[in-house]
């Protein structure tokens, strides 16, 4: 029986196991929404902007380790997805974005709501398709899910012109993907693996740098085994947070620009860096020449283009970090704690400190929340000071429980990502931590949360401005504070209440404990607003061009 290719698209999504789609309808994507109307397997979540749909798909994907799906119409719908797609690309998150497009006969004529979205997104999608023939739809969906979820995960966009969507085809879902130009390598080279194991066996001061790859590959067990077998301390990148339990004696926490002093010093003193699924981003390495100057470097990454891009490794291994670590583990000798471990223990005595004598500060709120949840929650964040404090001070003990925009640093990510996360793990407490700056970027999504009866928790640090930008201006612009203070901020408690969300505002330490209990126990959504000082800086801080062991406030 013939069906429209829009229906073929929906059926293909069903076959791929998609149960939830985040999106926003419009003219050019009408046929797809019409077919979706009949689907019993796919739940569509109507966000309040397309960007939020892409972030929600990303949050969903990162927590569930499945492919997240978002859709939007042509033109502005598609361009609103762009930030979400770029965010997913930078953090290697598998999403499939589906956009409507004007009819093929009209493409290129600048008709209503036309934009070249495949051209626009080419630099930050893993691959994209402009569907020209209706019969290609099932194959393209199959390929899109395969490309998004294998190798180094990433976003794939499918642009479906309206007339193609309406064309009727005989539906047959392909069983196999045939892509001669796409063959991700998952098994590491055995010789390189042996060399890596030998280097680990010989090393006296090794450090593992675990990146987002460990979270996305589900390699946390292998990582823990390797670290424990040879007593190797583990630092993570921002994206690697949660890959290694931070309450473990071998944990060094996060390293880099705002990393822990002990992670940054340990890496600098090390004689072997084992980078697992990390890309040596600039926020992690500081000045590259001063990064682990005496260390050999083993670099494990599934993306060959990351090897040698930022830091030249001595032992490169291309492969799936889970498989590679498992292989290395076999050849690594068990080791007893050494002098290096004592040194690490010594270094760890100097923790991140802050002044908690004056007024309520965001750092203590995060530490208190960490203690209350015991790490058993999914924490999403926006981008800014609060994000760094969460990364530094919340003790993450489980993989994929810290969901934040790392590479692109997208403000407005946290709230929609929390919505996606809640759909992936409805039984978990999902808490979005934000500042008043980033909260205002996508706060319309409160409606999406309420409409879907999600129990989302929010902690909003209100400093009436942009704290982290202010901090940069303090250091780099001789305290000329340009456009970092809001002249007006809404009453966030009343705002939440207008959505039917319970909310509470606190500005003192005495109220904190009770307020957090209220937040955690509330069945519905809850917003806790904490009034904080904009002059609170994130420390330690590594200045641009400095090596990571030269920290201000470290």
């Amino acid at each position: 029986m013939e069906i429209s290719s829009a229906e073929a698209l929906i059926r293909s999504l069903e076959i791929e196991g998609v149960s939830v789609v985040f999106g926003y309808p419009g003219g050019a994507i009408l046929p797809v929404y019409d077919s979706l109307f009949h689907s019993k397997k796919i739940k569509h979540i109507l966000t309040r902007s397309e960007q939020a749909a892409a972030h929600a798909a990303s949050g969903y994907a990162r927590v569930s380790r499945k492919v997240g799906v978002c859709m939007a119409t042509s033109g502005p719908g598609a361009t609103n997805l762009v930030t979400g797609i770029a965010t997913a690309y930078m953090d290697s998150v598998p999403i499939v974005a589906i956009t409507g497009q004007v009819a093929t006969s009209l493409i290129g004529r600048d008709v209503f709501q036309e934009v070249d979205i495949t051209g626009a997104t080419a630099p930050f999608t893993k691959h994209n398709y402009l569907v020209k023939k209706a019969e290609d739809v099932p194959r393209i969906v199959k390929e899109a899910f395969y490309i998004a979820s294998t190798g180094r995960p990433g976003p794939v966009l499918i642009d479906l012109p309206k007339d193609v969507a309406e064309t009727r085809i005989e539906f047959k879902y392909p069983e196999q993907v045939v892509l001669r130009g796409y063959k991700p390598k998952t098994n590491g080279h055995p010789l390189q693996i042996s060399r890596a194991a030998e280097a680990i066996n010989k090393a006296q001061r090794p450090v593992i740098c675990a990146g987002g790859g460990v979270n996305s590959a589900g390699a946390e067990e292998e990582l823990l085994k390797l670290a424990e077998k040879a007593h190797i301390p583990v630092a993570t990148s921002l994206m690697g947070i949660g890959a290694f339990p931070e309450d473990h004696p071998l944990s060094l926490g996060m390293l880099g620009m705002h990393g822990t002093p002990y992670a940054n010093i340990a890496v600098t003193e090390s004689d072997l860096i084992i980078a697992a699924g990390a890309r040596f981003g600039d926020r992690l390495t500081g000045r590259v020449a001063g990064f682990a100057p005496n260390a050999k470097i083993i670099h494990i990454d599934i993306d060959p283009a990351e090897i040698g891009k930022n830091v030249k490794p001595d032992i490169p291994i291309v492969g799936d970090v889970k498989l590679v670590l498992a292989e290395i583990l076999k050849e690594v000798y068990p080791k007893q704690p050494t002098e290096w471990n004592s040194r690490i223990a010594e270094l760890k005595k100097k923790t991140i400190s802050y002044d908690r004598t004056s007024r309520l500060c965001p750092q203590e709120v995060i530490e208190a929340l960490s203690a209350k949840t015991g790490g058993d929650a999914i924490i999403t964040t926006e981008v800014g000071s609060h994000q760094m404090w969460v990364a530094q001070l919340y003790k993450f003990t489980k993989p994929r429980t810290f969901i934040s925009s790392g590479g692109l640093g997208t403000m407005g990510y946290g709230l929609p990502a929390a919505i996606g996360a809640k759909f992936a793990k409805p039984d978990k407490n999902v808490i979005n931590i934000c500042g008043d700056g980033s909260f205002q970027m996508n706060m319309a999504e409160l409606a999406t949360a309420v409409e879907n009866n999600l129990s989302l928790k929010m902690i909003l640090f209100n400093n009436r401005g942009l704290g982290l930008v202010r901090q940069l201006q303090e250091f780099y612009c001789e305290k000329r504070y340009s456009q970092v203070h809001f002249g007006f901020v809404p009453d966030f408690v009343k705002l939440a209440e207008s959505y039917g969300i319970k909310a509470r505002r606190i500005d003192s330490r005495e109220e904190l404990d009770g307020a957090l209990d209220e937040l955690i126990c509330e069945k519905g959504c809850f917003l806790l607003e904490c009034i904080v000082d904009i002059n609170e800086n994130v420390y330690p801080m590594v200045l641009n061009g400095s090596p990571i062991n030269e920290m201000i406030g470290g």
């Binding site: 495949t118 051209g119 080419a122 630099p123 893993k126 691959h127 402009l130 490309i147 045939v178 892509l179 001669r180 130009g181 796409y182 993306d303 060959p304 283009a305 090897i307 040698g308 891009k309």
Partner: protein, 167 residues
């Protein structure tokens, strides 16, 4: 440093823009790019001359390989390959200098493909050096237009660049 890469790609619309876009957004410099279909009509072959050090060339290769439409990227070694470029030159050719130009063209085994009262068009095939030398010799006569195809290259002997059909 100039490096010639041979790139086999799917013969789809949009592939050229993906490749060109990759070069511009990663800041790689293309010296020349020539593209056409191969013996297999589903596959096109691009010959790209890249300007950059070893690190750049390595990155170019890896980033090209990341494109799903790129099937294979190979480096062409100058000593083991033949590279050619075709150039069409429209040169001022008043009657009094015409025979001199024809003489130069003959030495270079170039073809005169069009003659008018005041100009002629010469077609020349060769490697970069030959084309440049020819251009230098014609300059004094006045070059009105010059079009080059960009270098294409192929390995000598039995060595071929093909897709491994490993399934």
């Amino acid at each position: 440093m100039k490096t010639t890469l041979s790139v086999l790609v799917e013969n789809h619309p949009g592939v050229l823009s993906r490749v060109a876009g990759l070069f511009s957004r990663r800041g790689f410099n293309i010296d020349s790019l020539a593209v056409g279909t191969t013996e297999n009509p589903e596959i096109s072959r691009m010959t790209i001359v890249v300007d950059g050090d070893e690190y750049i060339v390595e990155q170019v290769k890896k980033q090209l390989n990341k494109l799903v439409d790129v099937i294979k990227v190979s480096k062409i070694i100058p000593e083991e390959s033949v590279s050619r470029e075709l150039v069409l030159i429209k040169v001022d050719a008043e009657p009094q200098v015409r025979s001199e130009i024809i003489h130069i063209a003959e030495i270079f085994r170039a073809n005169i493909v069009d003659v008018s009262r005041k100009s002629m068009i010469i077609e020349l095939t060769g490697d970069k050096d030959k084309v440049s030398a020819f251009e230098e010799l014609l300059k004094p006569f006045g070059i009105k237009e010059l079009v080059r195809t960009g270098v294409i290259a192929v390995n000598r002997g039995n060595k071929t660049i093909k897709i491994e059909e490993d399934e």
